[in-house]
Symmetry: C2
Subunit: 452 residues, 2 copies
């Protein structure tokens, strides 16, 4: 096949994989829900090679699926119909930390863990953290505008990206990596590409801001009587404690399951309706400040556990983080990732179980998430393929003004639901921008927007 | 003229101004550098009316210049060739503060001062502040991605904008004002429109994040031996003092002028090469934390004045803020607004006077700015129209990897210099996006990009 030969001429034949036994791992996502096939997997090692690959594919009108660590959750990075997989993992160079600016330039294939290590070695930290840190790559995190646990303090990936180098569909390169905090010289291409799920351009390098490393951390688990109280407490703490960087929510049912599955001690003598887990980090011990702010919440807080030692902090986080694994012991969970305005969150949490029960009788619903961002992960066990649940829950989300995809993106999984959040005019604008940057529609066709 | 009649049918004839004696104030910017004429000034009072106006203008292929408070500095908001001025000032409704989310929805015509007052009344603050607060409007600040004094803590306008309602060139409306912190449902239209200088769409309403109000503030003026030391100290304070929200730089010559013109006492007994003005704000008194961090700078700080009382804080700020007015007493200043990476800032400041002197013999250069963002305002007195100075200084900026427009934008004033910062491919991409959203090129033609 001439295309394969031409791609080999760009990256070297050994970096164009066509053996199905090899390419299969690139053609299935890690949840196993999206499984396809690749015409080939191309592994360039530089921006120039990415440019060469895209020029060849664009000329041939061959569809390309960019892929990083393949940890996406919405089928945005796997080939479903024999596309070319463009693996960015070999673009794993990371520059020196600019210690004056607090910035670093990283290749798309650098893992989050690699980035974090580089930042830490220079006395800095990176503002986004998530569980898939050993596999997730910078390029994929940019493509999906990754969120994670610390977002309420540092913002999502888009807030860390000070500039991108990217290859357009036709192989031309745009590069703006100066990292200037203030730079009003034209449209915000970095922000536009971030979160575009590989449909507008292929990011090859990014200039990232770093954040200070803090020596002192405190974690508090607060028992509260309702989700409404958890929301109110979160707003109050956010206003009063600038060092707050995480606010997580879980409920009685989730905690009971986690304790049962992992044999963990219950955190409090009594059972409570909802639990708020908060973490603060600062150069000074933030515990007194947090304690005062919690004190001002008065009777809203029914019980509290506070930890400053790493092992004790991890033990409190475990109640939240073990939810996914604990739920998995009950069966394959259908997962939704939605966001609501804080004022709508209590009603949403109250209504979801009944809405799910109508859509999938006998299914069990677990809710937890990043309450600081209004982000709720809805996990439904025993719902089959989840189509009915999607329709019911996402419809409820949209009715309440929420987002059907808080942090995972639209990908292929949620494209059919995009109209719930976005008007025909908005989707038209997305398509116009897509056509402007990728007129032949070769980049990730079918992701976010219908294929051309 | 049929167009005028049709516009009158949309907004009411009394809101289509055509008397040159009236429209003249809309056709000159406040610096007096940009002076043109308007075919008419149209003053809609709602998104629907803006939509009607644009539909009429698009059909007639009549060029439209959106205008807010007309405080722009690069000629981006004034008609130069008989365009229709679309004044957004009547869109001055502001919604109630959502105290749970810490957000507010504001019309494009709301002034910054009005927004700040609304936020303060609800116990919150707004993250962007600038001197033109009584005239500058939310819409204009979005269009230019305004920066200002607090940007190092809260980011520019783009970081405050959680969603926009905007009218496309053809009159269609996109509206996404839910204010969700996490919302990965498509391209970042809000971020794209922010900073697009009225060339992609007309913003009519925005959802804005608010920030906590702090009770305690401390201002310190630090005398240092060089710009390099000022930069190093800024990085150090930024890392060690999370409550830091401003870091401003000025030099010996500027301080001497300010003291002479306004009869101010010199802040220190000795004269020093450079001065760093920092401000911290927190719920606790940030003075001890700042003092410790300044103490760790050791001999880098040659002298220091610290103020916590409002009048004393204002007195320290006066040394920095009076620069513009003091320079104006010497003549009309040619002003450049550039940004450099912190590592390049000292060399830039060192080289600029000689570069200016070669371009405009006899001219005097003053430099000051927001060192926390690498943003330097270059003021040149006695340079005539400044063309030679622009070429020389902006060329130097570009050679050093800096931005030729840190916070003012490109407008019409700097369009001819855009190529210094942006490659032909990037400018091509800008133009493709512009064509996708405004195919007839009616929105602010000649701003940022060449007219169609």
């Amino acid at each position: 096949m001439d295309l394969i030969r031409r791609l080999g001429a760009v990256v070297g034949p050994e970096h164009v994989l066509t053996d199905p036994a090899v390419t299969v791992s690139y053609a299935v996502d890690w949840t196993g829900r999206f499984r396809g096939s690749a015409a080939a997997v191309v592994r360039p090692r530089s921006t120039e090679e990415v440019a060469g690959v895209l020029a060849v594919c664009n000329e041939a009108e061959a569809a390309v699926v960019p892929q990083g660590g393949n940890t996406g959750l919405v089928g945005g990075g796997v080939p479903l119909a024999g596309e070319i997989v463009l693996s960015l993992r070999r673009l794993d160079e990371i520059g020196p930390v600019d210690t004056l600016a607090g910035q670093v330039t990283a290749g798309a294939g650098v893992t989050l863990a690699g980035l974090q290590a580089r930042a830490a070695a220079a006395g800095w930290a990176f503002g986004v953290d998530l569980a898939a840190r050993d596999s997730a790559t910078v390029g994929g995190m940019v493509a999906t505008n990754a969120g994670g646990n610390r977002m309420m303090r540092y913002g999502p990936m888009r807030a860390q990206v000070l500039g991108v180098e990217a290859v357009l569909a036709d192989g031309r390169v745009v590069s703006h990596l100066g990292g200037l905090a203030k730079d009003n010289t034209g449209y915000d291409l970095a922000g536009l590409v971030t979160g575009s799920e590989g449909t507008l351009a292929v990011v090859t390098r990014v200039r990232l801001r770093l954040v200070p490393r803090f020596e002192h951390r405190v974690v508090a688990l607060l028992a509260v009587g309702s989700v409404a109280t958890a929301v109110e407490a979160t707003t109050s703490l956010r206003r009063e404690v600038p060092s707050l960087e995480a606010a997580e929510l879980f409920l009685a049912e989730g905690l009971a399951l986690v304790c049962r599955v992992f044999g963990l001690p219950r955190p409090f003598a009594a059972e409570h309706a909802a639990y708020l887990l908060v973490e603060c980090a600062d150069h000074r011990d933030p515990e007194p400040e947090l304690a005062r702010a919690v004190g001002r919440l008065g009777p809203l807080v029914l019980d509290a556990a506070v930890a400053t030692e790493p092992a004790r902090r991890a033990a409190l986080w475990r109640y939240r983080e073990a939810h996914t694994e604990a739920i998995a012991t009950l069966g394959v969970a259908h997962k939704l990732d939605v966001a609501l305005a804080p004022g709508s969150l209590p009603a949403f949490v109250a209504e979801v179980p009944a809405v799910v029960a109508r859509a999938a009788p006998g299914a069990t619903t677990f809710l937890f998430g990043h309450v600081g961002d209004g982000n709720v992960h809805v996990n439904v066990v025993g719902a089959g393929d989840g189509d009915e649940v999607d329709a019911a829950v996402l419809g409820l989300v949209a009715d309440m003004g929420g987002s059907i995809s808080a942090e995972h993106g639209i990908g292929r999984a949620k494209r059919r639901w995009l109209h719930l959040n976005r008007s025909p005019v908005e989707i038209d604008v997305f398509a116009a921008i897509k056509r402007a940057l990728d007129p032949r529609g070769i980049l990730n066709p079918g992701v976010l927007l219908p294929p051309r």
